[in-house]
């Protein structure tokens, strides 16, 4: 009985009891969710355009952030390091296309997926080789990102300015992306490629260009994510673990849906914080690692293609 109360009554009582803290939990979930969404964005974009389940997205986040910080550590001013990092991300997109994707056109999904894992390994080794394995600090101040906090209700609700900035930037990125995919010629071509590589080739869509474009955009998104997340802890290859948190976001939102990535990210972000905060202690805490997956799995059972995923057209 007591146990049932702890599960079904006490948490809600706690929420009402301290609404400001509840708000804070939701805010933290929201901020985390935004970052999950950003990583999921990158996935979705590449998946849509090339059907590649890009496992390397997580490592691209680290690689981008590490390049930025590493350059700065070697004496490059922040506002020069930033454009250089963008160029590096372009070079990465270009080489991935040239060296990996181009040779793997029309291979089964799982082969492409594996190739991105290979890429992950390579980038880990390469990144550490160039910049060393020591964790580095994100250059938040140098990039003129705000780092103070705003408080409400007598210091009871604490909002970090950088979190607010992250949310704003993420929303802007979302809008730009949605317009890009829906309206432009490249956007349509990009979706065509996602449907049928070969047919897209046959109508003259240049897969190579499309892929460079999407990998580059994903690289930029990775850089944004890397800066934001790096500001929360530090920049090292351990950061790539957060990519695993983007996976449940993806299944929840559907692999092909940009709004899905956003909504999925928020559901997972807020869901896991609330779950951990109000229910986690019942089983000893730290359940976030699998809670997100369980949430996603439950959703998936009712909608196998995710919340926003395109309906699977099955014909015989």
């Amino acid at each position: 009985m007591e146990f049932l109360t702890a599960i079904f009554i006490q948490p809600f009582f706690d929420m009402v009891d301290d609404p400001v803290l509840f708000l804070q939990v939701i805010w933290e979930g929201f901020v985390t969710g935004i970052l999950y969404s950003l990583i999921a964005f990158g996935f979705v974009l590449i998946f849509k355009a090339s059907g590649v389940f890009n496992f390397a997205q997580g490592i691209m986040v680290v690689f981008a952030a590490l390049t930025l910080v590493g350059l700065h550590e070697n004496g490059v001013p922040a506002f020069i390091a930033l454009p250089i990092t963008i160029v590096v991300m372009y070079a990465l997109a270009f080489s991935v296309e040239r060296l990996v994707l181009r040779s793997l056109v029309n291979q089964p999904d799982i082969i492409l997926f594996m190739a991105t894992i290979g890429l992950t390994f390579f980038l880990i080794g390469f990144g550490e080789f160039i910049f060393g394995g020591e964790p580095k600090m994100m250059i938040t101040e140098e990039l003129l990102l705000p780092y103070d906090s705003i408080t409400f209700f007598d210091d009871m609700l604490i909002l970090q300015e950088i979190d607010i900035a992250a949310s704003v930037i993420a929303v802007i990125a979302l809008i730009i992306l949605a317009l890009f995919l829906g309206k432009t010629k490249i956007g349509i071509a990009l979706r065509a490629v996602a449907d049928d590589h070969q047919a897209a080739l046959s109508v003259g869509v240049s897969l190579n260009t499309i892929w460079v474009v999407v990998w580059f955009i994903s690289g930029i998104i990775a850089l944004i994510t890397g800066i934001m997340w790096g500001a929360k802890s530090d920049v090292s290859f351990a950061l790539s673990i957060i990519a695993f948190k983007a996976l449940p976001v993806l299944i929840l939102g559907g692999f092909t849906s940009v709004p899905g990535a956003i909504v999925g990210g928020l559901i997972i972000g807020i869901g896991e914080k609330i779950g951990e905060f109000y229910w986690g202690h019942l089983v000893g805490g730290s359940i976030e690692g699998w809670l997100a997956y369980m949430i996603a799995l439950v959703f998936l059972f009712f909608r196998p293609q995710g919340l926003f995923g395109e309906k699977i057209i099955e014909r015989v």
């Binding site: 933290e28 060393g132 351990a238």
Partner: protein
Amino acid sequence: MKNKIFLTLIASVISCLWLSQGVMAAKGIYIPLFTYRTGPFAGSGIPNANGMSDYLNMLNERDGGIGGVPLIVEECETGYNTKKGVECYEKVKPNNPVVINPYSTGITLQLIPKSPVDKIPVHSMAYGLSAAADGSVFPWVFNYPSTYWNQASAIIKYIGYQEGGMSNLKGKKIGFIFLESGYGREPIPLFEELSAELGYELFTIPVAFKESQNQSSHWLKVRKEKPDWMIMWGWGVMNPTAIKEATRIKFNMEKFVGVWWSGGEDDARPAGKAAKGYKSSNFHGIGTNYPAIQDILKYIVDKGKSQVKDRSRVGENFYMRGVFNSVLVAEAIRTAQGKYGNRVITSAEMRWGMENLNLTSARLAEIGLPGFANPIKVTCDDHANNGPIYIQQWNGTSWERVSGWINSMDRVRPMLEKAAADYKAKNSVPDRTIPCS
């Protein structure tokens, strides 16, 4: 064509691996160092590895080894990965290593049962299995200068002092945030026992490794609980994230104490000025103001023989911990040589040397590290020395020592013995047959 390439590849792999045996036949004392300069814990592993190898190499450069016998120092990269640890161990085993420094709790646990069989001592300096302090059960395993339980009790003592006496702990609330693993969970029984005795309230917050960089909900819990003190058993990326989160919830950093593995410069630095006040425990000195460290700079770093990227990083906490580890190894070798003569000692002789190690203050000064650490005396029964700790505090740019040596509580030793007995029973460890002198 490609088949040929493939077959050649396989053939060359096999032949190369076969050849790799018996490469190491040079004369000298073979000291393998299991290090991790890569992987998720590289941030702590790199300075550690640098300190360990720099000190030993310095001995080679300056003194031509120990007792005139050169040291063969070889690193083996484990990446903090147990599986790679096995490979490292099997690789160094035929070369007659005098001691293994696993530098990973997982690898240590796995080597503990092997050590009496292979007759190679294992030194897990202030990590690994606390119960290994009982030399009657674990003759081949050493974890001096101290164990986690010793440390945990000392931290509670420190908190008691700060509160104005142990009796003032009554009614206080202490939070314990830890990395979800055997390492992180280990001090909980002690904290619980002390809580019953001293009357403080304890709550625990586990952080899964995967959530190391995603701790906002954990710290919101801290906010909700409003503890008077927080203690942290963190490791790797968990540390800087936790310190940052603590500043974000505006926790009083003066009342936040970390384990000795949460006291790296890189742990506190990312949180910036806000981390000022954060404390961690330690058991050795830091900084370059020691003759021995000056020798390292002179013989090794300045000659480009070190892997340290930046000269200023010599003297940082984890670098010094590596140095201390090597000092302990070197002194044990000396002790063994004192008995068996200045020659290449065997691992069994090394074991004797470790068990009879007596590192006095005078000896520390003699080797160029005056006041570096508390004296260490290992005995046949006590492999942990139950050493004291001190507390250091982050001033925004570096660590400052803010307390004297704090001894652990007496109650710890019986707990260690009980744990050893438990291990012995569960794993049917045979009685010690090695004589005690």
